[in-house]
C-alpha cells in the first residue's frame, strides 16, 4: 500500500515532468481563471460591503406630536426599543433638530426670519433589516397616539434599497456564472492534458492496470495542478488587492473597501479550495471518461 502510494506520487510528479509544457500551460490557465474568479469574489465582497454600508446609513425620522410630553417620550422610546426591527435609536429634541437644520442649510438666512422653531421632537430610527425599511416606516407612522409624521427620505431610501438588492443579485448571478466558468475552464484544461495522454492510458489498461490504479497518479496530478494554480493566483491576488485597496483609499477615502483580514482570508480560502477541488475532480472526470472501455 505504502509502496503504491510512493509509486503514485512519483508517477504523478514524473508524469508532470514528462508532459512539461502541457502542465505549465494548464497550471497557467488554472492560475489565470482562479485569478479572475478571485477578482470577481473580491469585487462582489466589496460591492456587498458597500451596499451594506449605504443601507446602514438609512434612517427613519419619527416626528412626535407636540402633545407628547417628556414621560410619554421615554415610554415611546422603550416601546420602539422593544421592537425587533430597531437596531439603533436616537432622540433628537426640537432644539437639536433646529440646530441641525440650520447647519445643513447655511446659505438660507432662516434664523433671521424664523423666530419660532418650527420643528417637533423626533427620533432617528435605524433598522436591523433594511429590506423591511419602508414597510416598517409606514407601520411607525400608524402609531397615531405619539407620531405626528414619519419621513424616511422616501425615494432615496427606496432607491438605495433597490440598488442594494440590485448589487446583491447581480453579485450572486455573476459569482454563480463565474464559478461555473472557472469550473468549466479548469476541468476542460485538465481534460485536454489527459486526452493528450489517452494512448498512454490505453497501454496501461493493456498491461493489466486497474482503473483506480491508473487514475491515482492523474488525481494527484490534478490535485497538484490545483494547488499550484491556486497558490499562484492567491500569491498574485493578495498583494495586488492590498496595493489597489490602499491606492483607492487614498483616492476615494469615503468608499468603504473590505480590509477585514477575516473576510479576505475567506476569499483566499475559497480560491484555494476551488482550485484544489476543480483540479482533482477535473482529473477524476477526465480520466474516467478516457478509461471507459468497450468491455
Amino acid at each position: 500500500m505504502l509502496n503504491d502510494i510512493v509509486f503514485f506520487l512519483t508517477e504523478a510528479v514524473n508524469g508532470m515532468r514528462r508532459s512539461g509544457m502541457m502542465i505549465v500551460i494548464s497550471v497557467a490557465t488554472v492560475t489565470v481563471s482562479l485569478l479572475v474568479f478571485g477578482i470577481f469574489l473580491l469585487v462582489s465582497v466589496n460591492i456587498t460591503h458597500l451596499a451594506n454600508f449605504m443601507a446602514s446609513k438609512l434612517e427613519i425620522r419619527v416626528y412626535l406630536k407636540d402633545s407628547v410630553g417628556e414621560s410619554d417620550v421615554s415610554m415611546f422610546r422603550d416601546r420602539l426599543r422593544a421592537m425587533p426591527q430597531v437596531k439603533k435609536l436616537e432622540y433628537v429634541s426640537r432644539e437639536e433638530g433646529w440646530k441641525q437644520f440650520q447647519t445643513s442649510y447655511p446659505t438660507m438666512a432662516l434664523g433671521e426670519m424664523i423666530t419660532q422653531n418650527p420643528l417637533p421632537n423626533s427620533f432617528r430610527v435605524f433598522v436591523v433589516d433594511d429590506s423591511q425599511f419602508v414597510s416598517f416606516a409606514k407601520y411607525l407612522s400608524s402609531i397615531e397616539e405619539y407620531v405626528e409624521d414619519v419621513t424616511y427620505g422616501d425615494i432615496m431610501a427606496e432607491r438605495i434599497q433597490m440598488l442594494y438588492r440590485f448589487c446583491r443579485y447581480s453579485g450572486y448571478i455573476l459569482v454563480g456564472l463565474l464559478t461555473m466558468a472557472t469550473l468549466m475552464i479548469v476541468m476542460n484544461t485538465i481534460r485536454l492534458t489527459v486526452i493528450a495522454r489517452q494512448a498512454e492510458i490505453e497501454i496501461m489498461q493493456l498491461v493489466g492496470a486497474t482503473n483506480p490504479f491508473i487514475r491515482a497518479p492523474f488525481l494527484i496530478e490534478g490535485f497538484l495542478i490545483g494547488v499550484i494554480g491556486s497558490l499562484l493566483s492567491v500569491g498574485i491576488l493578495r498583494p495586488m488587492y492590498s496595493y489597489l485597496a490602499i491606492e483607492f483609499q487614498k483616492k476615494v477615502p469615503f468608499v468603504p473597501l473590505v480590509y477585514d483580514p477575516v473576510t479576505l482570508r475567506y476569499v483566499y480560502f475559497a480560491i484555494t479550495g476551488a482550485g484544489i477541488f476543480l483540479g482533482t475532480v477535473g482529473a477524476f472526470i477526465a480520466v474516467s471518461r478516457t478509461l471507459k472501455t468497450k468491455y
Binding site: 489498461q205 493493456l206 493489466g208 490504479f213
Partner: protein, 226 residues
C-alpha cells in the same frame, strides 16, 4: 487451456477479420500463427487478450468463458497473459526499467522483487545496458525487446507474441525464439504470430495458417509452407 469456438470478429467498419474460427490450444502448447498480411493473426490474438471483443462465438480459458468476463475483471484477466504487441505499445517518455516494471507494479509487487525480476528479464533480452534509457532513445529492435521483456516478466501462464522478431536481426531473433521455447517448456502456453519463415521452419512446432480470417491449415510439427 484455450478453446475457441465459432469465433467471428467483424470490425465496426464492416470488415470480417475472423470468420468462424475453431481452435483448441492445450496447456503448455507452442503454436505458430502464420498467414499473409491482413489474414487476421493480430485480430485473433487481440480477441484472446480481450483488447478486441468478439462479434460472436466463445473463447474458453480453462473452461471459463470470456463472455462472462466483467469489465472490472479484465485487468486481472490480462495479468495472466503476456502480450508482445506488434507495435510494442511502450509507455512513452519512460525508461526501459519503468516500462518493464510497470507490469509488476500493477500487481503490487514490492520494490525489491520488482527490481530483481526486471533486472533478470532485461538481462535475458540483452538490454541491461539500456535500463535507464527512455524508450524513444532506442532502436526499433531494442524497443521490441522491451516489449518482450514486459510480457514475460511476471511469468504468465499464457504468452501471446505478435510478430516478436519483426525488428530483430536473425541472431537476436533466434535467441528470442529460444527464450520463448524455454518459457514454453515450463508449461507456459505460447502463441506466436509470425512471418519469420526460417524460424518456423527451424524450430518446428504446431503451425496454424490463417487466410482471410479462416484457418486453412493446422499441422503439428509443421513448416511455414506446409
Amino acid at each position: 487451456m484455450i478453446r475457441i469456438k465459432k469465433l467471428v470478429k467483424k470490425y465496426p467498419n464492416g470488415f470480417l477479420a475472423l470468420d468462424n474460427i475453431d481452435l483448441h490450444v492445450g496447456k503448455g502448447e507452442f503454436i505458430y500463427l502464420v498467414g499473409p498480411s491482413g489474414a487476421g493473426k493480430s485480430t485473433l490474438l487481440d480477441v484472446i487478450f480481450r483488447s478486441e471483443l468478439p462479434t460472436s462465438g466463445d473463447i474458453y480459458i480453462d473452461n471459463f468463458s470470456l463472455n462472462h468476463l466483467k469489465p472490472a475483471q479484465v485487468p486481472y484477466y490480462r495479468r495472466n497473459i503476456g502480450m508482445i504487441f506488434q507495435d510494442y505499445k511502450l509507455l512513452p517518455g519512460r525508461t526501459v526499467y519503468d516500462n518493464v516494471a510497470f507490469a509488476l507494479r500493477v500487481m503490487h509487487y514490492p520494490r525489491s522483487r520488482i527490481h530483481r525480476h526486471v533486472s533478470q528479464v532485461l538481462e535475458l533480452v540483452g538490454l541491461s545496458e539500456k535500463v535507464n534509457h527512455v524508450t524513444a532513445e532506442l532502436s526499433g529492435g531494442e524497443q521490441q525487446r522491451i516489449c518482450i521483456a514486459r510480457a514475460i516478466v511476471n511469468n504468465p501462464p499464457i504468452l501471446l507474441a505478435d510478430e516478436p522478431t519483426g525488428s530483430l536481426d536473425p541472431e537476436t531473433s533466434w535467441e528470442i525464439m529460444q527464450l520463448l521455447s524455454k518459457i514454453n517448456s515450463r508449461q507456459t502456453t505460447v502463441l506466436v504470430a509470425t512471418h519469420n519463415k526460417s524460424i518456423v521452419d527451424d524450430i518446428r512446432k504446431r503451425v496454424v495458417v490463417l487466410e482471410s480470417g479462416k484457418i486453412v491449415r493446422d499441422k503439428h510439427f509443421g513448416t511455414y509452407d506446409g
